[in-house]
Every structure is written in C-alpha cells, then in structure tokens.
C-alpha cells in the first residue's frame, strides 16, 4: 500500500523549501491553513486513511496505472522507453489521485463544500467527480476564455452536479480562476475546503499534493524494477504547476544515476513573450500564497502566460520545483507548441495512444534528445493525461486528407 514517507525535500515547519513556498495569504485564511496542517499531519502516515485512499485508487481510479513498454518509439529512438499511463485513470488524467485524497480529507474535516480552480477543466472535472462520489457540494472557478475553449469539460462538470463560475477578470484564464477561488475561499473560510489542483498555493498544499501524486513514482519504481531489474536513466514529465512531475520524480530524487527532467511550456518560443516557462524565464516572487518563480515585469506585476495547452498556461510553478531547480537536483527544459503538437501526432500514430497536449511536451522532449545521449538508455515518460479533451482544438490545428 502506498503511504508517503518523510523526504529530504520536505519543507520546513513554516512550509518553506529553501526560500520558496511559505504561506502568503490574507490573515483570514491563516487559521484555516493551520487547521489543515494539523489535520494533514494526523493522516500523513496513518494506515487507515491510506487504506481508504487505496480502495478508491484501486477500484475507482483503476490504479496502479500501467507502465507500458512503447516498442515502436523505442525502436525509432534507439532507447528503451516506458510510458507511465496516467491517461488511463478514471477522468483521464493524474488529477484524480489528488482530488480523491483531498476529498477524503475534506470529508474527514466535516466540510460540506469543496471548491476548485481549473484551466483546461481536467482538475475541475476530477474535483466534480469526487464531490459527486463523496456527496459534497462543488463549485469550480474557470476563466471565461477557458470556459469557451473547453466547452465540453464545462458540460462534464455540470453533468456531475458542480456549479461552474466563469471568471471575467484579468486574463480570464487559470491565474484569474485561482484569484477568484481564493476570494471565495476567504469569504467562506469556515465551511469550505479548497481542493487546489497542483503542487502550488500556500503550505501545506505543495507538500500535501506532492504526497498524493507521489503514488505515480512509487508505482513506477516497483514496476520498472520488476520489468528491468534496474533504475531508469531518465524520467521525464511535463510541468504546468508541476504536480504530475513532482509525483513522478519524488521517489527518484535520491537515487543515484537517475536524471529527472521537467518540461515547461515553451509556447511560441522562450525568446518570445508567449510562453509559460516560469523556471527558465521567470524570477522569484509571490503569487497565490507561495513564493516561487514567476513571469513578471520590472515592477513585479504578473504577466500572462501562453501555451497551446490550457493546463500549462500559468505564469507560476510549484515552489518545490523552484527549489529543486536552484539546487540542481532536477533538470528543466521547455518545448514549443509546435514541437508538442508534432509529438501529439507522433505518439498517436506510432503507438495508438493519444496523449494530452500537456503530456505531449514531455514526449516531444525525449523525441528531441540527442541520439547518442539516449542510446540504449532506459527512459520513463509520464503520460499525465489523455488527449480526448484536446480533440476540438487539435481538429482546428491539424489537417488530414
């Protein structure tokens, strides 16, 4: 059974990963975060809580997710490549690992209502799903622009019984959805549980969400050892806020000889202003309750991000990634919209697996790695979600005869 373990990379008592992380929220929320910290400390290593989580993981989500040896692309690239199939999870992505666990915690704390922010709608759908399952009220905040481009996911959330708020302020995308969710949370601080969708936000969220997603890397470790009897050379995952990546990496950070690589959204190129590469192009700052790398101007105003994938379209990143970057523990790189779209088609046609635009970034990176660097190497790529949600957008971008 998966249970989190104490890690060398846990934050300090106030939630700081080095200088990053922390709790930068209005005072009204501080007692709420303290309560959450206490409650999470009680369950973090609690057998009963995690056996409850496991029941849902196994029979509801369909875990463990497969580790699939992708022979066709392996042959093409001259490396041995495995795909961690988070796309096979119920609701279509890794997001549900986190929402099930936070939902159970909310229930335990006696909260009746959960809220969530969402970009592409994957986290919103995963939250609405869990709310339906556990009998909680659910309200989801989504930027107006995303509501329009992810119409189908908005319908799914409504079908699941959630109320969807279309956020009209600022850039009308994920950043503004999160602002509005925080405003709602401050206003309903006493009875509402905020299910944050990634390893960001104020402490304890970055640590807690990492623990919930680290089931991914925990499974990979067992699976790769039984298939290959050795550790992989490279592990690659895409990064928006960074939850599937940290979930994938966390059990390998202390393994010698394993290189973890996180892939940010390069948009139209990191030499343009249209990208979401906060680590590569941003600087440290405070947004949404945490200190981390941010895309910002010379006065510290937050800039709008851009990516083909709504899930990576965010000007910040989880604080643990900021720390791991500065410490040189994980390597970070970026992939452009075009490279991601090419990899989306590539995997679909080579392996019969249609990945999400987000995951396509990780695939594109491996595809682009120098042949001599990966020759005969063992590589694991996390396919964080499936591409179904991207069909309408893909249809407008791709032409097939």
């Amino acid at each position: 059974m998966y249970i989190p373990r104490i890690s060398k990379f846990d934050p300090d008592q106030n939630g700081h990963f080095g200088k990053f992380g922390g709790k930068f929220v209005p005072e009204t929320l501080m007692p709420v975060l303290e309560e959450l910290e206490k409650e999470y400390a009680k369950v973090r290593f609690d057998q009963d809580f995690w056996s409850d989580v496991e029941k849902y993981f196994k029979d509801y989500v369909g875990r463990p997710s497969a580790l699939y040896h992708a022979k066709n692309i392996s042959e093409e690239l001259g490396a041995k490549i495995y795909l961690k199939r988070e796309d096979l999870n119920h609701t279509g992505a890794h997001k549900v690992n986190n929402t099930i666990s936070q939902g159970l915690l909310a229930k335990r704390m006696g909260k009746k209502r959960v809220i969530a922010e969402t970009g592409a709608g994957q986290h919103g759908v995963a939250t609405a799903t869990v709310a339906a399952l556990l009998g909680l009220e659910c309200e989801v905040f989504m930027g107006e622009k995303d509501v329009q481009r992810q119409e189908l996911n908005v319908f799914r959330m409504k079908l699941l019984g959630a109320k969807v708020h279309s956020v009209k302020s600022g850039s009308k995308t994920l950043k503004d959805a999160m602002n509005e969710a925080i405003r709602y949370w401050v206003t309903h601080a006493r009875d509402t549980f905020y299910i944050i969708g990634t390893v960001a936000g104020p402490h304890p969220y970055p640590m807690m969400v990492r623990d919930f997603q680290a089931v991914i890397g925990y499974e990979i470790k067992g699976q790769i050892l039984s298939k290959e009897a050795r550790m992989p050379d490279f592990i690659v995952a895409c990064i928006g806020g960074g939850s599937n990546a940290i979930g994938t990496f966390s059990h390998f950070l202390e393994e010698e000889g394993v290189t973890c690589i996180g892939i940010e959204a390069g948009g139209l190129g990191t030499d343009t202003k249209k990208h979401g590469a906060s680590l590569e192009k941003g600087s440290p700052g405070v947004l949404h309750g945490q200190m981390s790398y941010l895309l910002q101007d010379e006065d510290g105003q937050i800039l709008e991000a851009h990516s083909i994938s709504a899930g990576l379209d965010y000007p910040g990143i989880g604080p643990e990634h900021a720390f791991l970057k500065d410490e040189g523990v994980v390597k970070y790189a970026s992939i452009t919209d075009k490279e991601a779209l090419d990899a989306f088609v590539w995997l679909s046609q080579k392996e019969g697996i249609i990945p999400a635009f987000e995951s396509s970034h990780a695939l594109a990176y491996v595809r682009k790695m120098p042949k001599e660097e990966i020759k005969n190497k063992l590589i694991v790529i996390t396919v964080s979600g499936r591409g179904d949600k991207d069909m309408i957008q893909a249809k407008s971008l791709l032409k097939f005869d």
Binding site: N14, G22, K23, F24, V25, P26, E27, T28, L29, M30, P31, V32, E34, S169, G170, K175, D176, N179, I182, R183, V186, T187, H188, A189, R190, S283, P284, G285, V286, L287, H288, G289, M291, L294, Q296, D299, G300, Q301, I302
Partner: protein, 246 residues
C-alpha cells in the same frame, strides 16, 4: 476622537488627480492615507478595488507614480503604502523601505504578508522607520491574536468579516475586539465594508475605521467629472468622520 484612514488606488485615473484627492481627504478629516499600489492579482479585494487596480495598470501605472504622489502629499497627511507583497519583494524590500523613508511614508500595509512571513523583514523596516501594520481576522483564535499583535506598530488592522474588501457582509466582532484590547494598547482600526451606512456601527469599540471601496467607487464613477468626484469624496469623508465620532 476616532480616526479615519482613507484608501485610494494610486494613479487612478492619473497621478495628479490622486494628489488632489489625497489633499482634499486630509482637509475633510482623514487622519491617514493608504496609497494603494495597484497589483495585477489583488486576491483580498472585491470587484471595486480590483477594477481600479486593473484600470490603473492599463493607464500605465508604475511604481514611480506612487513615489511621486507620496512625495507630493506626505508632508500634509500621514501616508502609508498599501499593496500586495510581490512588487515589494521584486523591487527589493530594502529598496522599498529606504524609498519610503526618503519620501516620508510611515508604514506598509501588505495583506498577503501574514505575521510568520514578515519576520525576515522586521529589522529592515525598523531601520528605516517604516511600520509593518498587523492584520487580525475574525477567524483568529485568542492564542493566535496574542502571537501576531505582540509587537504591533502604528495601528492594528482588524478585518471586519471573513471576505474581500467592499462586500456587504458583517460579523459580530465583540469577542475579537475584546481579545485584542486585552493584549495591546496599539490603536485598533476596523476595515472592510465601511461606508456611510455602516461606519457608526463598525466603529463601536475601536479607535478608528479604514475606508476604501466606498471612496474608490466614486473614483470609478464614469458619470462624474473629476471636480465632482473630489466634492463627493470630501463630503463622504466628512460624513464618515462625523458618524464614527457621534
């Protein structure tokens, strides 16, 4: 006499108008001025102040705007900067504290910098004679209140309800005010949702009120000319000052 702290969003609609509004607020009875530094993502603010923030940024606000306004008014009215932490951090807290001191600004009000996160900055603030105003919320326990206001400076900012600025909500604050008064003699001001209607009620048991959205709403009113806005803001300030002291 109970005090009135007025908030305006700096540089909205422009720098010179902010200076005129600030000076007329002083004449109308405001004791302190919170000069708001617009931020792209003001999560503690309701729709009124958020709109003013975003419009000021669209109009080309830069930190120099707030520096210029401060210089022009700080001799006339006790001036503080109110803003989210990122611009302070990005420019360098040392730089901002020194700048504040040079421009005669007496304190910072930073809503997303709770007690625990202020600790690394206290000595710099002290060195430059800049007060870091402590917030208390109605969700705080007695123990937490004791911890966070032990060294409160200038005044304590009591948030009137769990929520964002400018909403119509109200909460019974008697117990929270009691806890604060037990441990601190620092003046206690209540803010959030204070307007002509609510001022008298909200000022009960405290030493003053902070008014933001009610003034900014007038600034945002497109049907008024600049001169009319100033007249309206002045008479609102006078009315509130009178109500809290009656």
């Amino acid at each position: 006499m109970k005090q009135l702290v007025a908030y305006i969003t700096s540089g909205f609609p422009d720098k010179n108008f902010s200076i005129d509004v600030a000076l007329s607020l002083k004449e109308s009875g405001a004791d302190m001025l919170e000069l708001g530094i617009p931020f792209s993502d003001p999560v503690a603010d309701g729709p009124i102040i958020e709109a003013a923030n975003l419009k000021a940024l669209q109009n080309g606000f830069s930190l120099n705007t707030v520096f210029d306004i401060s210089q022009a008014i700080s001799k006339n009215i006790d001036t503080l900067w109110m803003g989210y932490f990122n611009p302070f951090y990005h420019k360098g807290f040392d730089f901002m504290a020194k700048k504040a001191q040079d421009l005669g600004v007496s304190g910072f009000i930073i809503p997303d910098l709770p007690h625990e996160e202020t600790l690394p900055y206290l000595s710099t603030a002290k060195e430059h004679n800049v007060a870091l105003v402590s917030f208390v919320a109605p969700t705080d326990s007695k123990e937490r209140i004791e911890k966070i206001i032990k060294n409160a400076q200038k005044f304590i900012y009591l948030v009137a309800y769990a929520g964002i600025t400018g909403s119509g909500t109200s909460e019974d604050l008697t117990q929270t005010i009691g806890y604060i008064k037990e441990v601190s003699k620092t003046p206690l001001f209540v803010g959030f949702g204070v307007n002509a209607k609510t001022a008298q009620e909200k000022a009960k048991g405290v030493d003053g009120v902070i008014v933001g959205s009610a003034f900014v709403e007038i600034l945002l009113d497109g049907t008024l000319k600049n001169g009319e806005k100033i007249t309206k803001i002045s008479s609102l300030a006078k009315e509130i000052k009178e109500k809290i002291n009656s």
